[in-house]
């Protein structure tokens, strides 16, 4: 049941991401799939996080103009890296670290998508691309900040549940 809910959540996150440019195709929009994965990285088990990433990634592929597999592979590999980092570092659950993780992930995915564009186009528009990826990193960092800020005070309440990995 929990797996089914995670798959549904992943699908919904992917669909929301695919509709975000409806706000304006000129604006830079955040990557809420990525921000959610960073936020959930310390709160879900590896298998659960991977389920979320796979379901969101498959939906993202339906919308992506980059070659098939770029978005899916990027989010899944990032989940693997998140878990490795979280296991290696005791500071990994700190807010600052999560924001850095969101920014680095945004840059990695941005570069992965940019590689689907020819070198000539990239050399002409690298300034715009850097600006767009920079803004997206900022937005994603802010989303992680807001989500974590919203979540942390709830840990003091009676209804708070321990993350799966700590049980």
């Amino acid at each position: 049941m929990r797996t089914a809910r995670l798959i549904l959540l992943g699908v919904i996150l992917g669909l929301v991401q695919g509709s975000l440019h409806g706000l304006s195709s000129h604006w830079v929009v955040p990557n809420i799939v990525l921000a959610s994965l960073v936020f959930a990285a310390g709160r879900l088990s590896f298998a659960e996080l991977a389920t979320l990433a796979l379901s969101a990634g498959i939906v993202l592929e339906s919308f992506s103009g980059a070659g098939f597999g770029v978005q899916l592979l990027a989010v899944v590999l990032l989940v693997l890296v998140y878990k490795l980092v979280l296991r290696a570092s005791t500071d990994a659950s700190r807010l600052g670290f999560q924001i850095v993780l969101a920014v680095v992930s945004t840059v990695v995915i941005g570069l992965a998508v940019a590689l689907s564009v020819s070198v000539a186009v990239l050399s002409d528009g690298w300034g715009t691309m850097v600006l767009r990826i920079g803004l997206e990193s900022l937005y994603n960092g802010l989303i992680v900040l807001v989500l974590t800020g919203f979540w942390q005070p709830r840990q003091a309440t009676g209804s708070y549940r321990l993350p799966a990995q700590m049980k």
Binding site: H21, G22, G69
Partner: protein
């Protein structure tokens, strides 16, 4: 280091990587189609609602942001409308004369474009590529390479086709290319999208004539018919020591407000 002592983590890692690889292999082998039909069937109605909502929010924000300039824009549009009225009146005369001459010379009538209407149901999830997803696909006769128009203006080409949906690469996508020409000077070149929403009219020979404010139309290639309006020249970059000249072109359609588009089938 720790993962060596944790067989469960190793198993999950292998399972996740194997699942991802399997999905990509299934797609490469061409067996993704039935899965895509299911994914499209489930997600299309939901994403259409989400897109409608984000478009509504975006429209509201855009209107709120432009409140200060509405009066000025209104005056400018009224002036442009008067100019267009005069131009239309003049063109009607030319059209009537042209029709008469065509009849006398026995020319065939131009075939009207066969258009298939489609709703925009989704957008590119990233900030680098520029593409749309529409709710028409192979079952509606959509084919890769067909032109897509809105308000008579070329906005993109079909890039991928599924059974019930299709992906459109917009003219502003960095990988978009189409043969084009200036409407007045007939200068030929290639229109390509740029990172950052603009269009570039390139590979125009130095001896060709292209001017600011000139309309650029499709030159006719593959499945893109000749004469589709693409945009208007904003600046011309001409240098004597270059082989070609180039121009910056602005699309005449705001692609962020598209709800209904038309695929040109012939």
């Amino acid at each position: 280091m720790n993962s060596r002592r944790n067989p469960r983590l190793q198993r999950t890692t292998i399972l996740v990587l194997a699942s991802t690889t399997l999905v990509i292999i299934i797609h490469l082998a061409g067996w993704w189609r039935p899965i895509q039909i299911v994914v499209d069937g489930v997600t299309t109605p939901i994403v259409r609602s989400f897109t409608g909502f984000t478009r509504w929010v975006g429209g509201g924000l855009s209107t709120a942001g432009s409140l200060g300039t509405l009066a000025r824009d209104n005056a400018e549009l009224s002036r442009q409308l008067s100019e267009r009225d005069a131009q239309i009146a003049s063109l009607r005369e030319v059209e009537a004369e042209n029709q008469l001459l065509r009849t006398q010379l026995g020319f065939q009538k131009d075939q009207p474009l066969n258009l298939v209407g489609a709703h925009v149901i989704g957008y590119s999830p990233d900030n680098v590529r520029r593409n749309l997803v529409i709710d028409r696909g192979a079952r509606d006769g959509i084919k890769v390479g067909q032109a897509v128009v809105s308000s008579g203006v070329l906005i993109g080409k079909v890039e991928h086709v599924n059974d019930h949906t299709a992906q459109i690469f917009l003219v502003t996508d960095p990988e978009f290319r189409v043969q084009a020409m200036g409407q007045s000077g007939r200068a030929r070149g290639i229109i390509r999208g740029q990172l950052g929403s603009g269009l570039r009219f390139e590979q125009i020979a130095q001896n060709e004539k292209i001017d600011k404010d000139e309309y650029v139309i499709s030159a006719g290639s593959d499945l893109v018919p000749k004469g589709l309006l693409i945009g208007r020249v904003e600046t011309v970059d001409r240098s004597d020591n270059e082989i070609f000249q180039a121009a910056s072109v602005k699309s005449l359609v705001d692609v962020s407000r598209l709800e209904l588009v038309y695929v040109v089938q012939s």
